[in-house]
């Protein structure tokens, strides 16, 4: 049987031909997937900086080989760039498309956190400005020719260097939709291919923001788990005693390609990016409307965009942050969207964040990558730390242990602060 090359809406089918992954569980797809199926946690006590005076002292961190060897601790922006590049190298090698010497037939869509001047850079500038008092006006004078600042804090910098390194075409787009960022990057790539703008797109989600100020900011929003005494138990999505998310770092890259282009060059197709849906909320800066309207619409929009009905979704890769609020709202969304599902609990849903924490701008891309591996191996990763079920959450969360399942279509949810919700539907084949 030949796979259809266009979808139900007459658009080119978008295939995934390469995956790259970096998370606190390890470097590379193989190590990450094995750890995730084994139910291993990547959450640890923070060793990167002193944690005195901090309410939360745990996180998922990606520490680079040069740091482990005693080198300088990278700034967030440098870390984002490094791990984004690692994920891209792995994905492009698997796809057999493009490479470090350039020549990738499409644009770079980069989901990343906003970057800014960070404290180590400010302290370096203050030292340069001495003996002048280290106030902003003096720092500006001292910054002339201080390349590290512009390189790491300009918004276009990371994308520019990745685009140069990997030879992507046109202007790279750096995007932020808070916790949905990684999914938005994929969606932008899918749309570019669907409208015929390019044969392929390199979609990356990356985050590396575990540093004191970022941790304190999230703490001030009361968003983080404070279960510091048992780091590996702190992320417990959908569980009764959940108390917040765990900040984490990571990157994922997908090589997206029109199915035509992939088959024409004999590439191995790892899955199909079949549908994308989004819907934003106007209720509150950090909370969803209690009616769940936007979350429900985002899920339904993605399923409709894929040309499917809710009953055809076999598994949901949850946003599942482990905050009391998100998991309650996601449950509401699940009940509404899958009320008539063949299974009375709806499709099984599990949260990768129970093991890797919340990788923020990377999460949507990392979870799309894990969704593709779920389809490949027909095996659902678990939601770990499921000790005491929350009676308000009647979902099959694949508690604690991975299991085999027949998986044809995965819905991957991403819901962001600022009301930005994006869902993806990923399938094993184009039929």
């Amino acid at each position: 049987m030949t796979a259809p090359r266009t979808d139900h809406a007459g658009r080119p089918v978008v295939a995934v031909t390469g995956i790259g992954l970096v998370t606190p569980l390890g470097f590379g797809v193989a190590d990450n997937w094995a750890a995730l199926l084994a139910g291993r946690s990547g959450i640890r006590r923070i060793a990167r900086f002193p944690t005195d005076h901090l309410r939360t002292t745990i996180a998922g961190t990606v520490d680079l080989p040069e740091e482990a060897a005693g080198g300088r601790v990278l700034t967030s922006s440098e870390r984002v760039e490094r791990i984004a590049a690692m994920a891209a190298e792995e994905a492009m090698a698997e796809a057999g498309l493009g490479g470090p010497r350039g020549g990738f037939p499409g644009p770079l869509m980069l989901g990343m956190p906003p970057v800014e001047t960070e404290w180590p850079v400010r302290f370096a500038l203050a030292a340069r400005a001495a003996p002048a008092e280290p106030r902003y006006a003096a720092l500006v004078e001292a910054s002339v020719g201080f390349d590290a600042l512009w390189r790491t804090a300009s918004f276009a910098g990371v994308g520019e260097r990745l685009a140069e390194r990997f030879g992507t075409r046109g202007a790279p787009i750096a995007v932020s939709t808070a916790c949905a960022t990684g999914a938005t990057a994929i969606q932008l790539g899918v749309e570019a291919i669907q409208r015929g703008e390019a044969d392929a797109a390199l979609a990356i989600g990356a985050d590396g923001t575990v540093q004191p100020e970022a941790l304190i900011r999230f703490s001030l929003l009361s968003a983080l788990s404070t279960r510091n005494e048992a780091p590996e138990k702190a992320a417990r999505p959908f569980e009764k005693t959940r108390d917040g998310f765990v900040m984490s770092e990571g990157a994922a890259c997908l090589v997206l390609e029109s199915l035509d282009h992939a088959l024409a060059r004999g590439a191995r197709v790892l899955g199909i990016l079949r549908g994308c849906g989004e819907k934003s909320d106007s209720f509150h800066r950090t909370r969803s409307n209690p009616d769940g309207g936007a979350v429900i619409r985002a899920m339904r929009n993605a399923i409709a965009d894929a040309g499917l009905s809710p009953g055809e979704i076999s598994y949901v890769n949850a946003h599942g942050t482990s905050t009391p609020e998100n998991d309650k709202m996601e449950t509401l969304g699940m009940r509404a969207v899958f009320g008539n599902h063949p299974d009375p609990f709806g499709p099984p849903i599990s949260s990768n964040k129970s093991m890797i924490g919340h990788t923020l701008s990377a999460a949507g891309a990392i979870e799309a990558a894990f969704s593709l591996l779920t389809l490949r191996d027909q095996r659902l990763p678990p939601t770990i730390n499921h000790d005491e079920p929350d009676p308000a959450i009647a979902l099959d969360v694949v508690p604690n242990v991975a299991r085999d399942a027949k998986v044809a279509h995965v819905l991957s949810n991403s819901f962001g602060f600022g009301g930005q919700n994006v869902c993806l539907v990923i399938s094993g084949d184009a039929a």
Partner: protein
């Protein structure tokens, strides 16, 4: 069959004031803009007008959750929606914002630096935690987040279709306009709000752009007259566009200011091997077939930074045709992410007014009569090249017209 895309509303706030009338008057005047050379010396800036926030952000609670940058953008977004008469469309309106970062707490940064920079590193790291944990305000984090400009526009203006925030200085603004226009042209939705904002009186941003060598020092001069001290002069700028399919606009009887044709973006390395000339030539090739003969009005996004300004002059010179160039930077300053949306908004305004802006300085050639087409350029201060083609909408094509 791609859909025709119109600009049916513009929301502008700049040193020229706010709204259509103030900006039409500014374009007609051809006089140098207000400039503040003292407050952030040696860097001149173009200050924005005092805004009556209640008019676009009625809830004080919402105003308090933002700092000036998000307020400016949320305000300008509201102006654009009102200008388009599109309040009834916001529920399914898609949103693409080009965003920088929000304000830091400058006083807190200064006091932390003063204390911690005196300490040995290990002691300093512990003290930094203590000072930040007690000094940072929870609301300031949200006011700083780039995607929360879009979040606030959703909350305050009710815009709840798709929401995306592009980051990356001018290129983000250009790609935001490009992607929004392309999505409408291919039939994804019928109306979109796109734009950005930049608040100029900010030391944290001057630190960033200063470190990139992008800022002019000393007295103000028009962007094409800065050879003595090349660089951009930042200006407070809020710029949003309502883009709409012509079908949607006609169906609700909304007039368009201009038709937006091809938008092309490129990113060259600006190195000897990749100067940007080729990228721009390729981009221009997409637009060229639809441009009429005769003198071409150009709304230029030139920044005054040496390399891109020289590149743009070379590019325009290479078109080998008479041009009437009007530099937006000479009129409202450099608004970073808002720059390209502002240039497009001003071009649309000029087309709808039937008048090319009055020349400002000897390098801007005169142009008589109503323009039919305009080229908008955006050569980013550091990276990013962009072009857009806008065309006047013939009266017969407007709603109520007899086609």
């Amino acid at each position: 069959m791609p859909h025709d895309v119109w600009i049916t509303g513009i929301g502008l706030v700049s040193c020229a004031g706010e709204g259509r009338a103030a900006h039409a008057a500014m374009l007609a005047a051809g006089t140098p803009p207000p400039v503040d050379e003292a407050s952030f010396a040696p860097f001149p800036i173009h200050p924005g007008p005092a805004l009556e926030l209640d008019r676009q952000i009625p809830k004080k609670g919402d105003q308090r959750q933002m700092e000036p940058w998000q307020r400016l953008g949320t305000y300008a977004a509201g102006l654009a929606i009102d200008d388009a008469g599109a309040r009834g469309l916001v529920g399914e309106m898609d949103l693409i914002v080009a965003a920088g970062g929000g304000e830091r707490d400058i006083a807190l940064d200064d006091s932390v630096l003063a204390e911690v920079s005196q300490l040995p590193p290990e002691e300093g790291a512990v003290r930094l935690n203590a000072l930040l944990a007690s000094g940072l305000r929870p609301t300031l984090f949200l006011a700083q987040l780039s995607n929360l400009l879009a979040g606030n526009i959703s909350i305050v203006q009710g815009v709840t279709g798709a929401s995306r925030t592009f980051m990356g200085e001018e290129a983000a603004g250009a790609d935001a306009v490009r992607v929004a226009a392309m999505r409408l042209a291919e039939g994804r939705g019928s109306v979109a709000l796109v734009g950005g904002a930049y608040s100029a009186p900010r030391w944290d941003m001057l630190l960033l752009y200063g470190s990139g060598g992008l800022l002019r020092r000393g007295a103000w001069a028009p962007v094409f007259g800065r050879e003595d001290a090349p660089g951009a002069v930042t200006g407070t700028l809020g710029a949003f566009l309502v883009l709409e399919t012509a079908d949607s606009a006609r169906a609700r009887g909304a007039k368009g200011l201009a038709r937006i044709g091809t938008v092309a973006t490129a990113q060259s390395r600006r190195s000897p091997a990749d100067t940007g000339r080729e990228a721009m030539a390729q981009a221009f090739a997409h637009l060229a077939p639809r441009l009429p003969a005769g003198t071409l009005p150009v709304i230029s996004g030139a920044t005054g930074v040496a390399a891109p300004t020289a590149l743009e002059r070379e590019f325009l010179g290479g078109l080998y045709r008479p041009l009437a160039v009007r530099a937006v930077g000479s009129r409202v300053g450099w608004g970073v992410e808002a720059a390209f949306p502002a240039s497009v908004a001003l071009a649309a305004l000029a087309l709808s007014e039937g008048r090319v802006p009055a020349p400002l300085g000897p390098l801007e050639a005169p142009f008589e009569g109503p323009p039919t087409d305009m080229l908008v350029t955006g050569f980013g201060a550091w990276r990013g090249e962009a072009l857009a083609h806008l065309a006047a909408i013939p009266a017969a094509d407007q709603p109520g017209g007899t086609a």
